[in-house]
């Protein structure tokens, strides 16, 4: 049985932080100059939002071992909470609304995490569906949440931080990038802290964890809270920076599965893996539609696209489960090591 590894393999070339710094410098300094608005709107914004949601789910499922199918519910909770806080609380800065929206999502996460104290694995996954259906139902049923708009649609407020307007494509990208970078950094710190080790301990052997005195119940609920906070903020980015107009139906079970697939494909218990998986999930349909259009012409309409997407994605997930259970991140590390080896031996 393969152990689910954490991010402990040392980077052979650069210290890890250096690679991150270079990547960030590129994302802040170069991408805004060269990127087209298509790149921001169709690729980078959904990538950032889904990547962050993947980080959140990975903390819960990859690290703490608690399977959840309720991710989209926590995204919705975050998005609608931020919308209402921004709308109804006079003088609350946007960043404050987003933080408090994360807290709201965390509170809901704790409530729906309570079954994890009794249930495991498959049964827990099914019980998290309750969150999925309940949140979506409540948001549709009570129009207060969407400020009495028809069918629960909400429009994002203007984005600005400290008086700096960020409404253009580049502005929204920088807005999302900043929040995602900060939360991802904190998530890194978390998973390598004692709390992160407690998560893994509970995942790998709950009985032994209890015996050595890890507060199992508290730690599980903490995993739900932190995970839901991050997923909630990802929901805000999804609604405010990417789509700008969302409705509860956009946060359905499909979305929850999408995030689960992201961490499975990217690599469980890996922060980087969430972004690998998100990149694949975002780019893959675009590539498929280009390819399909090129090969089949007009026959390849949106219905065919949708169907072929599901088929190929399903096959991909099965392949990953069988061939590369540690995900893209493991694949990437292996390729990199091989290249490095080839380079060193020349």
């Amino acid at each position: 049985m393969t152990a689910i590894t954490s991010n402990f393999s040392a980077a052979p070339v650069l210290p890890k932080w250096m690679a991150s710094v270079l990547l960030l410098a590129f994302a802040y300094g170069v991408v805004p100059l060269i990127g087209s608005s298509y790149l921001f709107e169709a690729i980078l914004l959904p990538f950032l939002a889904l990547g962050l949601a993947g980080v959140g789910l990975n903390i819960l499922t990859g690290y703490a071992g608690q399977v959840s199918l309720g991710s989209a519910a926590f995204m919705a909770a975050g998005a609608f909470a931020a919308y209402n806080l921004n709308l109804r609380v006079e003088g609350l800065p946007l960043i404050g609304s987003i933080f408090l929206a994360g807290i709201v999502a965390a509170a809901i996460g704790i409530v729906f995490g309570l079954p994890s104290l009794r249930l495991k694995g498959f049964y827990l996954a099914v019980s998290t569906l309750a969150a999925q259906f309940f949140v979506q139902w409540a948001l549709t049923k009570f129009s207060w949440f969407s400020n009495e708009s028809a069918s629960g649609v909400i429009d994002a407020p203007r984005l600005s931080i400290g008086g700096l307007a960020l409404d253009g494509a580049v502005g929204r990208y920088l807005f999302a990038l900043t929040i995602v970078s900060i939360l991802t950094f904190l998530a890194y710190r978390l998973v390598s802290s004692q709390t992160g080790r407690n998560f893994i301990a509970i995942r790998d052997n709950e009985t032994a964890a209890r015996i050595i005195g890890i507060p199992v119940l508290k730690t599980k609920l903490l995993a739900f809270a932190i995970s839901s906070f991050i997923i909630g903020v990802a929901g805000v980015i999804w609604a405010f920076a990417y789509l700008r107009t969302v409705e509860p139906a956009g946060f359905d079970l499909d979305r929850s599965f999408q995030i689960l697939f992201i961490i499975i494909i990217g690599g469980l218990a890996s922060i980087r893996g969430a972004f690998f998986g998100a990149a694949l999930i975002v780019v893959f349909p675009l590539g498929l539609s280009r390819l399909g259009g090129f090969l089949l012409g007009d026959v390849f309409d949106s219905g065919v696209l949708d169907m072929s997407q599901r088929i190929v994605l399903g096959a991909l997930i099965i392949l990953f489960l069988i061939l590369e259970p540690d995900g893209l991140v493991a694949l990437w590390d292996r390729i990199r090591r091989r290249l490095l080896f080839a380079w060193q031996s020349t």
Partner: protein, 308 residues
């Protein structure tokens, strides 16, 4: 398909007794009554650290333990032997609160428990290992051992993430103590390996390290040498003795290899079909006719630690 089974939570439903954990154990059981704490140092020295009184436990129709009394004195290595299925692991599970005895009670340090509170076990100075490996496979050896100190951690996650408050000191302290134990048990070379990737014998030793790092007063070892080669066994026996000497730890040891047990332990209790049939020094046990009939006479059939 490691990931799929993991995702569905089937990988290690439980080390033993899945049915108990599916139901969940009451985590905050108060001691049923507070016994008399012995006063005066002479009385303390003489009083047993652990005693079991009239412990009875059955599973459905199977009687795992019947009316067991046992006392363990501070500083001794106390072996429990017996054929497979005799109830040895059940006894350790009762002492560590994993099972609740149907009858009788456990006295730990003069305090009487109907069921020992598992969640507080580490605080009570009790650590244990498991008959079947129970390491955290996805953590490094060092982190596995450091997790043995998790019960002491008082910083919260926010402090740890931001690296403020007492979290830094705690982190430094637990890693350096884990390193010391690794050195003591000659595990330094595998310090950064993932625990799940180590050979079986080393994993057993890492589990001992995880239990020892808390410097427990009472150490419960359930077949720490099962499945080892003769060389590994004597090495492990050396570590157990060294641990007792260095940390003044009292050890309860379950082991099948009679040769190892005779050389290592101060007193031996022999179980058979859930009953205690002998309780004496190694020499006396060796010559006890009932023990010879029940156990020593027959070849051990549990060399690989099969069964629970």
């Amino acid at each position: 398909m490691p990931l799929a089974s993991y995702a569905l939570g089937m990988m290690d439903a439980s080390v033993y007794a899945p049915e108990v954990f599916a139901r969940g154990l009451p985590s905050t059981l108060q001691p049923s009554a507070v016994g008399v704490v012995p006063a005066g140092s002479i009385a303390t020295a003489a009083a047993p650290l652990l005693s079991l009184q009239g412990i009875g436990l059955s599973f459905g129709g199977v009687v795992a333990l019947a009316d067991i009394d046992l006392s363990v004195n501070p500083g001794e290595i106390r072996a429990i032997i017996g054929p497979n299925g005799a109830g040895k692991s059940s006894l350790i599970n009762v002492i560590s609160g994993v099972y609740r005895a149907d009858r009788g009670h456990v006295l730990l340090d003069g305090i009487r428990y109907g069921q020992v509170p598992t969640q507080r076990l580490a605080h009570l100075g009790v650590a244990r290992t498991f008959q079947n490996l129970a390491l955290f496979k996805g953590l490094s050896v060092l982190d596995n051992v450091a997790s043995g100190l998790a019960y002491k951690v008082r910083s919260n996650f926010a402090g740890q993430v931001l690296g403020i408050g007492r979290s830094r000191g705690e982190q430094r302290d637990s890693l350096s103590r884990a390193d010391q134990i690794l050195e003591f048990l000659d595990l330094t070379t595998v310090r950064d390996r993932l625990a799940g990737t180590l050979p079986y014998g080393l994993q057993k030793r890492v589990e001992l390290a995880r239990a020892l790092v808390a410097e427990p007063r009472l150490l419960l070892l359930d077949e720490p040498m099962a499945g080892m080669t003769a060389g590994e066994k004597s090495e492990m026996a050396g570590f157990v003795r060294a641990a007792r000497d260095r940390f003044a730890t009292t050890v309860v040891l379950i082991e099948h290899d009679v040769g190892v047990v005779m050389g290592l332990s101060d007193r031996i209790a022999v179980l058979d079909y859930g009953r205690k049939i002998a309780d004496a020094t190694p020499d006396e046990v060796r010559n006890d006719q009932r023990v010879i009939d029940a156990y020593l006479g027959v070849a051990s059939d549990n060399e690989d630690g099969a069964g629970i």
